[in-house]
Symmetry: C2
Subunit: 421 residues, 2 copies
């Protein structure tokens, strides 16, 4: 990155050349912000441009969903609180550079002393920022006795209950600290996580990590709705960055919520959900559509025409049955059936190879942001786990819950400062 | 895909909008073909465009390396030769459609009868062709007694010897049939493999599959050289599509080689090579450069200035030692030290999560094409396995060897026809 930007144009760098075109319909483009009464949301004019790192909230939440994910959960192995704070400061400095398309450290991959290990691993040299965002979260386990944080554990960070049917694998669940890296180029997302891991050597260890592609939920009305691996549009009725009032009510934690250090932060739930791809692919179109309650072509609610037509759960067909069945996914998950609980979904498709039984190991790495999981993810997922027609085709295999602190204000601030000071 | 192209523009579709820019330096662009005395090589003017499916050779070999990979190895489970041939015919028809940005079957994802399972899984609806190529290969195990092919096994498809230090995992090695899907959009590559698996249900079963990103080797002089996960430029001295004479000598099999059915085909070796990323990242810049024999910034041979300067293995530094050490990777692998054996490398980076020991499970999914592995991959790899300074940081964990038949001539032809008829 850094010194070579512009001078050399990498093969992948050419994704950035379409800036004029990208300004029309853009992954990195947000709608005019005249609707917003908060500060205008960060936006990149082309998909190779950077998003601002500093701000009231962390980037990577309402940021228009980028196309690739590298998610990592770390366990902290140092027992020393000061060392942990120092690491968070070093990480913040590196993240501020990486998200702007620079190398992780000022000695770079090739600019340092030959007898020293480079400050950057080098595989993103020549690549643009590619819309990279890095979003940190703290797991409940960080609030144990090790670092004196027990008294600061937010009530909203309550352990998730056991949900019917889940088959969680502990080794790929939980973690003390997570970092979500999203970018339009996987090499950029991987490079960022790997450099954070390098900087954390001896203080943290990688607990699990997950790659994803094709964000399955749009998070801005300026984005076309992408499709998940079941072939359906995903994100139609998502909470979006243009929903200023709902974001304030349902996404960002406030000082009044009980943990002042979380003001401006949010809570992230991750669920790795494996799909029975092969079984799904042999299911009829009519059944697939009934399971979701939307049609496959347009993504319209059953009984309606267009994707963004309002859902009408009372409407019935000629047979007297509701268009959208009692156990349809969108009926069960809709805010009107969940005390008006909304989620900002931001999950990614994954394919992890095959499972040794002749099947692809693939599905949805679900990520959802919200103000209080106890009132949002938990009741919605409890209802889905009990009744969703989709359950026949999915299996939850990993779970994570993280408190994402507010944004880093400026170069003197760092990830988690409000928690540690 | 199909009916919705143009009408809807997906989020990822915008990668295709930069056509004007992409024509300047392009993943999908090949140099003027005046140097070639063979038919002009397929090229796509923008990275969302299709490559031709029909031709003398299969696409996906000299095709300018696309950015994403989904590789799958199948075991054939039917015992019936006619059923296998029928599957190859069905696959060919689907591949001809998929590579042109159409759905896998004419009933599509949403156009068929509601009571039937769709002919396409739907997750690529609205996405352009994205330079998708599908390349098939037949493993040695296909030539056993099951299908009466034993007499047709090419001599060049001899089992690879055991190489020093390799730690192969049988479950992710070998396979009766492989398909390499390359595209600029992972969703398109995944969609293609998944639909082939769906079509093959009951006749083949997925043995293993691998996702990759950021092709680590350029295959055209019109492409900038990408970097691998060790941060080095990879592909500088690769066999490239502009090397018409070398391609004839060293890439494409001919009828004179002993197996007439392979004329116009080629042999593919795959090696999944895990990197000790964390150890590498703590190695000094000087040592990293000595291991490869090239510098990290420019990719220039040590002792030279620019990436494409000719390598001089005799040149010595002020200390009287050769600039490029005896155990440097490029010295050992260079054609001049291997009876002029060349390889067309076309590998991809992989990150498969973490390994349960706090480390990223990442490295290079090496793919190399050649006319005869006995004279090319095998001697080069034997030398590397014994002497390469790089060995301290890598481990070969899977291996594959496949005979890739010639290209499909037209809609009446199919993958492997010359083998079966
Ligand atoms: C593999 C698992 C899942 C798949 C394939 C899936 C797919 C979908 C699809 C296709 C839609 C309709 C389009 C849209 O509005 O986005 C949808 C809606 C929704 N899903 Fe899921 N989903 C999955 C799991 C979950 C989970 C675990 C939750 C939360 C606990 C969830 C919450 C929602 C919500 C809140 C909506 C919006 C409903 C509405 O307001 O209309 N989904 N999902
Ligand atoms: C993780 C494993 C490997 C890494 C990181 C790696 C990396 C590199 C790099 C950085 C170069 C120099 C740039 C270039 O000319 O492309 C190179 C050259 C080369 N590599 Fe590898 N390589 C690996 C494994 C292999 C294997 C297994 C083979 C074949 C058995 C191989 C064959 C070659 C050849 C033929 C060259 C060109 C040498 C020349 O003509 O100058 N490499 N490799």
């Amino acid at each position: 990155m850094s010194d070579s930007r512009g001078a050399r144009m990498s093969r992948r760098g050419l994704f950035g050349l379409g800036a004029a075109g990208a300004a029309v319909v853009g992954a990195g483009v947000v709608a005019s912000n005249t609707l917003l009464d908060e500060a205008p949301v960060a936006h990149a004019a082309s998909i190779s441009d950077p998003f601002p790192f500093y701000g009231e909230h962390q980037a990577g939440v309402v940021t228009p969903a980028q196309d690739r994910l590298h998610f990592v959960a770390f366990d902290v192995i140092t027992k020393n609180r000061a060392e942990l704070v120092e690491l968070l400061q070093e990480w913040t400095a590196a993240a501020a550079r990486l998200t702007q398309g620079k190398e992780a450290g000022s000695f770079g991959a090739v600019g340092g002393a030959p007898e020293a290990a480079p400050d950057d691993t080098g595989e993103a040299l020549g690549l643009p920022a590619s819309g990279l965002t890095l979003t940190i979260g703290f797991g409940a386990s960080l609030f144990d006795e090790r670092f004196g944080l027990a008294g600061k554990r937010p009530a909203a960070l309550a352990d998730l209950p056991k949900f019917p049917g889940e088959q969680l694998i502990p080794e790929i669940s939980g973690g003390d600290i997570c970092v979500q890296a999203c970018a339009h180029d996987p090499q950029v997302a991987v490079h960022a996580i790997r450099n954070l891991a390098r900087i954390g050597f001896g203080k943290v260890s990688v607990r699990w990590s997950q790659l994803g592609f094709g964000c399955t939920s749009s998070t801005s009305r300026a984005q076309a709705t992408p499709r998940n691996l079941m072939g359906f549009k995903d994100g139609t009725n998502n909470l979006k960055l243009e929903d200023a009032e709902l974001l304030r009510d349902q996404l960002w934690a406030s000082a009044q919520d009980g943990s002042a250090w979380m003001a401006g932060g949010t809570y992230m739930v991750t669920r790795k959900i494996r799909m029975a791809i092969e079984t799904w692919d042999r299911t009829s179109l009519a059944e697939q559509e009934q399971i979701f309650g939307r049609n496959k072509g347009e993504g319209a609610p059953l009984g309606k025409q267009a994707e963004f037509d309002a859902v009408d759960f009372a409407a019935k067909g000629a047979d007297g049955q509701p268009h959208i069945k009692a156990d349809a996914h969108v009926r069960l998950a809709h805010p009107s059936n969940n005390s008006n609980a909304h989620l900002l979904r931001r999950g990614y498709n994954f394919v992890d190879g095959s499972d040794g039984l002749g099947r692809l190991d693939a599905g949805l790495f679900f990520i959802a942001y919200q103000r209080d999981p106890r009132k949002q993810f938990v009741p919605v997922q409890m209802k889905l786990a009990k009744n969703d027609a989709l359950n026949e085709y999915i299996k939850h295999v990993s779970s994570g819950l993280f408190a994402c602190p507010p944004g880093v204000r400026d170069a003197g601030d760092y990830w988690g400062r409000t928690l540690f000071e």
